[in-house]
């Protein structure tokens, strides 16, 4: 994997709208954003409604993912080109999710919706309909997903990367500051975790920094290349952004995303917490 395999520029995206074999997919936290205007021909994935189990806290299962992609008109052979708001947090989450279910060709639009809008590029309100497909997912690839027990067992041994803001890391606030600060979980972080905020990997327009800048960033922060890595945040979306940087852009081996993240860890009884 290299940057060109996994990341496309807004220019490239604009030139390739409507190209057969490419499906542009918008994934947002604010799912009304798509309805206000989207890339021409792009379909919408609702981070919550489409990608989370309606009952338990978990992903939709393989069969539900197959049904979802089939209904959206995405086939196994298509290259899925993801973009979204929040500096691509949820698009990166979807990227990781598509990889978990074994989709071959997935790319992110660098800068996502934000760069697109700041550039003043065209958005469409047309209803997008694609003919249904018969999508087949693979079994979940758990080599890229960490669960709580592994996180606890990794304290002091693996690279634990807490990608939240410094104030969340220290426990001063419990959620990114666009959300009310009323949560059940305790504040703080997993002992021995390093705080390398996702935002250090991005430019102000939402694009990723250069490979050289990214390599220097993790190097300076004490990332140990000889160790396996688990990234986490609050609910697993910002850590998907960092997972994408570490695994897909920098090509580091054995990087997992802990999607349970702080909402789970900070609610566990008896686990160690540092502030």
């Amino acid at each position: 994997m290299s940057r060109n395999d996994v990341l496309v520029t807004a220019d490239w995206a604009e030139e390739n709208l409507g190209t057969p074999g490419l499906v542009f997919v918008e994934v947002d936290e604010d799912t009304s954003a798509y309805d206000g205007g989207h890339l021409e021909g792009a379909v919408k994935l609702d981070w919550k409604q489409d990608l989370q189990d309606p009952l338990r806290r978990d992903f939709v299962n393989k069969e539900a993912f197959e049904a979802l992609l089939s209904a959206k008109g995405i086939s196994n052979d298509d290259t899925v080109v993801l973009y979204g708001g929040n500096n691509n947090w949820f698009a990166a989450y979807a990227y990781w999710y598509f990889k978990l279910y074994g989709h071959e060709n997935v790319k992110l639009v660098d800068g996502g919706r934000k760069k697109w809008e700041l550039d003043g590029r065209a958005l469409s309100k047309d209803v997008v309909e694609r003919p249904a497909t018969q999508y087949k997912a693979k079994d979940p690839d758990l080599s890229i997903r960490a669960f709580r027990d592994e996180v606890v067992a990794s304290i002091g041994s693996k690279n634990l990367i807490d990608v939240r803001s410094p104030d969340e890391f220290s426990g001063k606030i419990l959620a990114p500051a666009h959300l009310p600060q009323e949560m059940a979980q305790k504040g703080g972080h997993v002992p021995t975790a390093k705080n390398i905020p996702w935002s250090k990997a991005a430019n102000e327009d939402g694009t990723f920094k250069s490979d050289e800048q990214l390599a220097a960033l993790y190097d300076e922060q004490g990332y140990d290349d000889t160790k396996a890595t688990i990234a986490y945040c609050r609910i697993g979306e910002r850590s998907s952004h960092t997972w994408f940087v570490l695994r897909e852009l920098l090509g580091k081996p054995d990087v997992k995303n802990y999607d349970g993240s702080w909402v789970e860890y900070g609610s566990l009884v008896g686990v160690p917490i540092e502030k």
Binding site: D28, E29, D30, T31, A33, W47, K48, G85, N86, N87, K114, E117, L118, D119, G120, S165, P166, D167, K172, I173, A175, P176, A177, H178, L179, P180, Q181, E182, P197, S199, E204, D205, I235
Partner: protein, 97 residues
């Protein structure tokens, strides 16, 4: 839990005895600016959150007492404003020149 809240509007349901709300609007050319990207930076200038202004140009953050910076980015330019927030409502205006 994770739907991005609509920006601006009523403060009903928000407990201002516990929440540190930083809100206001972005202005450009004498009018509120919709669709601007507004980010909240902490005392070390690190990113804490980002929202997009409402049709009325409004933004709202839930922070903690302390020093913050609000920075707005839009196709027409950028502007920023520092503030010291306390528990309760803290209002500010960011002008993009």
């Amino acid at each position: 839990m994770c739907g991005a809240p609509t920006q601006g509007g009523s403060l009903a349901g928000i407990d201002l005895t516990t929440q540190t709300v930083i809100q206001g609007s972005v202005w450009h050319d004498g009018a509120p600016l919709a669709g601007a990207y507004v980010r909240l930076l902490d005392a070390t200038d690190e990113f804490t959150a980002e929202v997009v202004t409402s049709p009325e140009g409004e933004f709202r953050f839930f922070a903690a007492p302390g020093n913050w910076k609000v920075r707005a980015l839009a196709p027409v330019g950028r502007g920023e404003r520092g503030l010291a927030a306390e528990v309760g409502l803290n209002e500010t205006t960011v002008v993009i020149g």
